[in-house]
Symmetry: C2
Subunit: 485 residues, 2 copies
């Protein structure tokens, strides 16, 4: 291993750098290992495109017929795993600066004709059925490398800004989120209902006794780490979570998963304006990082048959964009005016009090502003109980970040930090006060203004790769009736 | 916010740096926000120690009685949240280089006498009951900042080494892990068993029909992302996962949680030696990063009443340590010899074929080698089916990294990459071949030597902070009968 060189290392150097490298790389002996992407064979000479996953590009390996076992080697097909020892040479061709003249090739793993990645073109739908093999394709290699870059950029951005990465619980015994369809977590022997412990009272017949469950109560998979992140930020200042979240919704759409990853920063002493600024800077940083580090991947994704041909242009323009800000109330005026006077044909007629539909969001960001826009101060009745109430009695300090091509990509808010106002809202919304004892405590003791937002990682990966189905931007997608692997 | 300064920024500068800063910081007006850690009051002057979570240290705020509402301000107690505008001054005292002469103090959030963090000394056990408030204490502030540093160093280490961060599924429909006690994930209405869909055949009475469950089959929470990481590394080269894993074990010990975070790198083309080298380098990097970035936290943790007084010394010696390597067979000879001739009094008598107990591991790393040691090539019968078989027919290419004070901190192995050998092992161990179709596929198509290991994040945090109960190194610990929050 120590002497093995990554294809990325070879490919990333310019002709100039290679010539001036010390020790001299050109004509030196190197060892690479990887998988055959293609093999072009002639009687005297074969050309292998070898990929080791480290980068989008493959390196060309030139095989002369004088090599040991030329017949066997030149008969390899796509997918073979090999080790190549050879001399690094300046490439004569246009594309790459280097190639390898093979001196010794060892086959590490062969491939049979039933290998499903033999075919030149395979649909994303088909590849979804073989999620264990699809990381070997150019498309998924590109997507997963970009996904990594987005994740690393996220950690770097928040670390550089003095945030602490925290881990809210995945299994929650709290019903606070009230987000409806949650997955139950249990160790009770559900498979055989006759074994389930039952509550034996007259009023509670046929009810399972969850005090006998592993956690001594009903538990579910989290839908958001926000409430716990609030606890953390009121001690640590600025924190962020980055973990899996779950929704048991039968949404069979290209934009929904039942298991997805969320990035949720939460900051003491930030008001909504500070938070909007942070969200815009974060998005721009992500995009800049990917543009700077994944150009080959983005280029490949653009050039795919159904790739977004303007992918990099769109990202570049967002990188330095000014994120406009507008209140919900003003946004609604624009939408109503557009419906009346500008011939905008919304399926869902906009009116003050309605939730913004994707068509409304896209009108605002694509048509009206032709750029990213942050909508703030939504009607309180369409937003969660924990959002900070404005003095107008009608709106709350919520925000959504809208970007062209998608609509909402980030949602956030300033949180209600006044104990009495929060309690009143909990009562108004017929929530159980006792379920919120610890959340209320945060406002009882040393309360501070604080805010946060959430970004769905997979939505961000879709946006930045131009991949249109969310099932194709996560290694093993989870959705209704799908949990193979 | 934009003008607010973090305490970390002020504290981290030396007197020299402060004097030479441009613009001049000393005597300039600054704004800080945070929580009162303590307040010392006299008639004419009060001293507030203010902490904002950004760093272990608090900054001293000097309050003269000429300030607006001096009586109210000088009566604040621990836990008050305030905003302070004042002049940055060179501190006359020994400890800090700067302090703040307050010009204006605004109370953002008060505290009542029932605030449980009033008391000077609160036990970790007590604080576990108020996990929502404990990030506000010095101890938990230190632990969570170190935890963050370990996490960030992990991402940086692997990114710098060309690894890609991947996300194996949390909900798994695969029974492959065979790790016994798993949590079930379901959307069936378990609370009322009369509603459960049943299989109505003569042979399968009283069995629930999981084809009606959300995923159309039985699903559980993952115990490891390794098998899926193997799929990824055989396309991308080197990958790592960093996510939550779950064990439904009633282990009521200070070293077990039912929900914890694991870091699991998986590398194509790495053999066991390469993997041992990587593991040692990773551990050393983590420790070096924390030593370089969290000295104040480590110092505080050392000085705690039941802190580990040799914490930093132990970490420093590990940072540059040589990780010795030894086979299980040779380690067993040392242990047997120690039992016979050196008076080592093991509770569990060592013999070839037994699993290493913690007492054995600690003897090796603390007494015999007096430093970290990597034990390799364990008997196959005590290890998992997927580990690469040695030619001796008795051992597999497994490794455990042992460190003084803990014993095993990392476990890993080279994976069996030979299709026939893996299949034979699956049959030997009476596992179901059909459950492993995709895992076997990896060996059928372009198989490559590959290896990986796992590090439990919380175990690492315990080791690096000297905190002895695992429930105190994760924000909201999950264990039997405990899922509040």
């Amino acid at each position: 291993m120590s002497e093995r060189v990554l294809v990325k290392t070879l490919i990333s150097k310019s002709r100039e750098e290679l010539k001036n490298s010390t020790p001299q790389m050109i004509d030196s002996s190197i060892l690479v290992k990887g998988w055959v992407r293609s093999l072009r064979k002639s009687k005297k000479l074969s050309f292998i495109m070898l990929n080791d996953g480290s980068t989008q590009q493959s390196i060309q390996v030139v095989v002369e017929d004088s090599i040991h076992q030329y017949d066997q080697i030149s008969s390899m097909i796509t997918g073979f795993c090999i080790s190549v020892r050879g001399l690094l040479k300046e490439s004569q061709g246009q594309g790459q600066s280097v190639e390898i003249l093979a001196k010794e090739i060892t086959i590490l793993g062969g491939v049979t004709a039933e290998y499903p990645l033999q075919k030149k073109s395979t649909s994303l739908e088909f590849l979804r059925e073989i999620a264990h093999l699809r990381p070997r394709t150019n498309t998924f290699g590109a997507v997963f490398r970009v996904r990594h870059a987005i994740c690393f950029a996220t950690h770097k951005f928040f670390n550089d800004h003095g945030f602490f990465y925290i881990h809210p619980p995945i299994t929650t015994g709290s019903d606070c989120e009230g987000a409806g369809q949650m997955f139950r977590v249990t160790t009770l022997n559900v498979a055989d209902p006759t074994t389930l412990p039952m509550i034996n009272t007259d009023t509670d017949k046929n009810k399972v006794d969850f005090s006998k469950d592993f956690y001594g109560k009903e538990t579910h998979l989290t839908v958001s780490g926000q409430l716990e992140a609030e606890c953390m930020c009121l001690g640590l200042g600025s924190v962020y979570s980055f973990g899996p979240t779950f929704r048991a919704e039968n949404s069979n759409t290209p934009r929904h998963l039942s298991e997805f990853w969320m990035i949720e920063p939460e900051m003491a002493f930030y008001d909504l304006d500070d938070t909007a600024t942070l969200a815009a800077n974060y998005i721009k940083y992500l995009i800049g990082y990917v543009l700077d580090n994944c150009d080959n991947e983005l280029k490949f994704l653009e050039e795919r048959e159904d790739g977004d041909k303007e992918l990099r242009e769109r990202l570049k323009s967002l990188r330095y964009a000014d994120f406009k800000r507008i209140t919900y109330t003003d946004a609604m005026k624009i939408l109503e005016d557009a419906q009346k006077n500008s011939g905008a044909d919304f399926e869902f007629k906009p009116f003050w009090g309605c939730d913004l539909q994707t068509e409304h969001e896209r009108y605002l960001t694509e048509k009206h502003f032709a750029g990213p826009v942050i909508v703030t101060d939504y009607p309180k009745d369409i937003k969660a109980f924990y959002m900070k109430q404005n003095d107008d009695g009608k709106t709350v300090r919520a925000m959504d970040v809208l970007v062209p091509g998608v609509g909402e990509i980030i949602g956030g808010s300033q949180r209600e930090d006044d104990y009495n106002k929060l309690l009143a809202r909990i009562h108004d919304m017929k929530l159980e006060e006792k379920d919120y004892w610890w959340y209320l405590d945060l406002r009882k003791f040393g309360s501070a203004p604080h805010s946060g937002f959430g970004l769905g990682l997979e939505r961000a990966v879709m946006y930045i790769t131009g991949i249109s189905n969310i099932r194709d931007v996560i290694p093993f997608p989870r959705y209704s009736k799908n949990a193979e692997f």
